[in-house]
C-alpha cells in the first residue's frame, strides 16, 4: 500500500478524467468481477446448460435432440424415480422429526446452568464436521451383521442381530415376523438398511441442530420466563406456552434446512449402501445415472425434477411458516 504514496507525480493518471461516481463504479466492477465470473460461469450458466442437455440424448457425446423424452421417461408409471422418491420421502419424514425433537430436548438440557456444558457442545458438534465418507465407513463397520459392534451388543443380551445395511425388508415386517404376525404389504415400514442410515444421519446432525436451537433459546427474553413464573406457571406450562412458541422461527428455519438436507443427502448413503436395500434416494439415483451410466441428459432431467420438488417444498414451508410461526 505504501507504493501508492511513492508514485512519482509525473506518472500519467488514466482515470483522472473520470468523475468520482464513475471511478467508484469502475472500482466496484473490479471488486465484483472475480466472484461474479465464477458464480455466473459455474453456477448460473450451468443451470441453462443443464436444462438444454436434459432435452437431449447425451452420453459422453451429444447424440440427438429428444425434446422432453427424458422427463416423460422419468415420469412413466414404472420409472425408477417413484421408488426413489418414496425412499427420499421416507428418509425425510422419519429423520427430520427424530433429529429435531432430540435436538430440542438436548438444547433444553444444555441451556441449564450445568458444569461442563461447553465441553458437551464441542463434543456433540464433532460428528458434523468430520468427513461423512470416513464416519459412514466407521458406522458401516459397526452395522456389520457378524463382525459389527452393534450386533455384538445385541448378542450379549441374548438377541439375534439383524442384517442392518444388508436388509431389504421393512422394519415393521421384521418386527411382525418375530411375533409371528402377518402384515399387509403396504405396512412394511422403511427398510432396515434405511433405518440404519437414519440412525447414522441422526448421529451426524443432532449436534448441529442443537447448536442452532441453543442460539434460538438465547434469543428468548428472560422477562418472559420471569413473568410466567410470577403468574405461577410450572415448568411444563412454560415449555409449552413460552419456549416452544417463541422458538418457532428457529424450528422453522431448522426444519427447512434439514428437509432440504435429506433431499440432497448423498455421501454417507453412497458409502453405506450404494443405494441398495431401499436406500436409493432421488439424489443417489441422479448421481448413479451420471457416474455409472454416463447418461448426462437423463441425469439432468432427474436433477431438474428433484429441484422442482425441493422448490415446491420450500415454497410450501415458507407459506405455512408465515402463517404459523410467531415472530
Amino acid at each position: 500500500m505504501t507504493t501508492l504514496h511513492a508514485k512519482t507525480p509525473d506518472k500519467p493518471r488514466p482515470r483522472s478524467g473520470l468523475s468520482k461516481g464513475a471511478k467508484e463504479a469502475l472500482m466496484a466492477y473490479g471488486f465484483l468481477s472475480p466472484a461474479l465470473i465464477i458464480l455466473i460461469g459455474f453456477t448460473l450458466i450451468p443451470v441453462i446448460i443443464g436444462f438444454v442437455i436434459s432435452l437431449s440424448n447425451f452420453r459422453v457425446i451429444f447424440r440427438e435432440w429428444i425434446g422432453f423424452d427424458n422427463y416423460t421417461r422419468a415420469l412413466q408409471p414404472d420409472s425408477e424415480l417413484w421408488p426413489s422418491l418414496g425412499a427420499t420421502i421416507t428418509y425425510s419424514l422419519i429423520s427430520v422429526p427424530l433429529q429435531l425433537s432430540l435436538a430440542l430436548g438436548l438444547a433444553l438440557v444444555l441451556y441449564q446452568k450445568l458444569k461442563g456444558r461447553a465441553f458437551f457442545r464441542v463434543v456433540m458438534f464433532l460428528p458434523y464436521i468430520t468427513s461423512t465418507v470416513a464416519s459412514a465407513a466407521v458406522w458401516a463397520r459397526m452395522f456389520s451383521p457378524d463382525l459389527g459392534l452393534i450386533n455384538a451388543v445385541i448378542r450379549a443380551f441374548g438377541g439375534v442381530g439383524p442384517k442392518w445395511l444388508l436388509e431389504n425388508k421393512g422394519i415393521f415386517t421384521l418386527m411382525s415376523q418375530s411375533m409371528n404376525l402377518n402384515l399387509p404389504d403396504w405396512l412394511t415400514g422403511p427398510s432396515l438398511a434405511m433405518t440404519a442410515v437414519i440412525i447414522y444421519t441422526t448421529w451426524v446432525f443432532v449436534g448441529y441442530d442443537t447448536t442452532i436451537f441453543l442460539g434460538g433459546l438465547g434469543n428468548i427474553p428472560n422477562e418472559m420466563y420471569e413473568a410466567a413464573r410470577i403468574d405461577g406457571a410450572n415448568a411444563w406450562q412454560i415449555l409449552k406456552d413460552i419456549t416452544i412458541p417463541l422458538l418457532s422461527p428457529t424450528t422453522f428455519f431448522l426444519s427447512l434446512v434439514t428437509i432440504i438436507g435429506t433431499f440432497k443427502a448423498f455421501n454417507h448413503i453412497w458409502v453405506m449402501t450404494r443405494g441398495d436395500n431401499g436406500t436409493m434416494t432421488a439424489a443417489l439415483l441422479t448421481y448413479k445415472q451420471m457416474y455409472e451410466f454416463q447418461r448426462a441428459g437423463y441425469a439432468s432431467a432427474l436433477a431438474f425434477l428433484l429441484f422442482t420438488l425441493i422448490l415446491g417444498v420450500t415454497i410450501f414451508q415458507q407459506w405455512y411458516g408465515n402463517r404459523h410461526t410467531n415472530y
Binding site: 500500500m1 472500482m27 466496484a28 471488486f31 465484483l32 472475480p34 461474479l36 465464477i38 458464480l39 455466473i40 460461469g41 459455474f42 453456477t43 448460473l44 450451468p46 443451470v47 446448460i49 443443464g50 438444454v52 451429444f62 438440557v109 450445568l114 461442563g116 456444558r117 464441542v122 463434543v123 464433532l126 460428528p127 464436521i129 468430520t130 468427513s131 465418507v133 470416513a134 465407513a137 466407521v138 463397520r141 463382525l147 459392534l149 455384538a152 450379549a156 448421529w203 449436534g207 447448536t211 442452532i212 442460539g215 438465547g218 434469543n219 431448522l254 448423498f266 455421501n267 453412497w270 458409502v271 451420471m290 457416474y291 448426462a296 441425469a299 439432468s300 436433477a303 428433484l306 429441484f307
Partner: protein, 329 residues
Amino acid sequence: MANTYANAPQMKFKFGRVALYLILIFVGILALLPFVWMVLSSFKSFGDFINIEFSSVPSALKSFWPWPPFGTSPPEFGNYPEAIRRIDLSSTYKTLTGIPLLARQFFNTFLVAAVSVTGVLITSALAAYAFAMLEFPGKKILFVAVLAALMIPEELVLVPRVIMMYEPLSGEALASQDFIISLIPRTGWQNTYAALTIPFMASAFAIFLLRQYFMQIPKDLFDAARIDGAGHMRYLAQMMMPLAKPAFMTVGLLTFIGAWNEFKWTQLVTRDLPMRTLSVSLQNFLQTDGGAEGQLAMAVAVMIVLPIVILYLFTQQYFVEGVAKSGVK
C-alpha cells in the same frame, strides 16, 4: 411427576440435576464412541478386529482393548504403513515417483482446501465490500444474481459442470457438432487441479454473510479513514477485515472443511488415482482391500479425520458461534 416432587423441592433439584448429567454423559459417549472405536480399531490386528464378543465384562473390555491389561496382543502399529502399502498397489505411482500414493492424495486434499479457502475469502471480501460500501449502476441486479446463485443447489449443476470440464472440441469434431451444443464452453480441466478448485473459489453464501457484517460497521469509520488518506482497498484490508475477523474465520473454516470432505465432484471429474483426494481414496479402498480388512480402512479413516478434528479443537468457538448465528439469521 411434578406433584410428587412439589412437596420435596430439594429432592427434585438433586434428582433433576443428576438426570440431566446422566443424559449429557450418555449423549457424549454416543457422539464419541464411533471415533473411539475407529481409533482403537486402527491399532488392532485383523484377528482382534473381527473378534468382538460382549458376552462377559472381561471379553467386552478385551473387544475394545485387546492389549494389556485386558488382552495379550501387542498394539498393531503396522496397520498404517500396511494401508499405505495396499493403496500403493492400486497404481504405478509409487514405483514411478517413489512417493506413496496416499501422501500425494493427502497433498491434493490439502492443496484443494487451501486454494478454495484463499479464493473464497479474497473474492467474497472484495464482492461483499462492493455491495456494502460502493455505489454503482446495476448493483441491485448483480445482487439478485448472487442471491440466485445462493439458492441453486450444487446437485442441479453437477452434470453441466462435468460437461464443462470436458476437452474442448476442435476441427472436424467441432464442425460436425450440433450448433447449440457447440456453444457449451469446455475448459478441458477434467482430471486437473483447476477442476477441483476454480469452480469453488467463490461462494454466494460467503458474499452474503460478509456483506451483512460489513454493513453493520458504521460508515463514519470510513469517512475518518478517508480523511487520513486511505482508499477503498486499504480501508478494506486494514479496517474492515480485522473488524469482521469472526465472519472471515467462520467462512474460511466452513470452506476448508467442505473442501476437505468433498467427495461427489472429485469422484466425477478425476480419472487418475494421483489426482484424487482422501475421501475418494477411502471410498475406493473400501471397495477393495479396506472392505475385507476393516482395520486398514479404519487407519485411513483416522488419517482423514485427524487433521480436521485438530483444526476444530483449536477453532471451535468460531464454528459454534458461526453456526448458531446462521440459524438466527
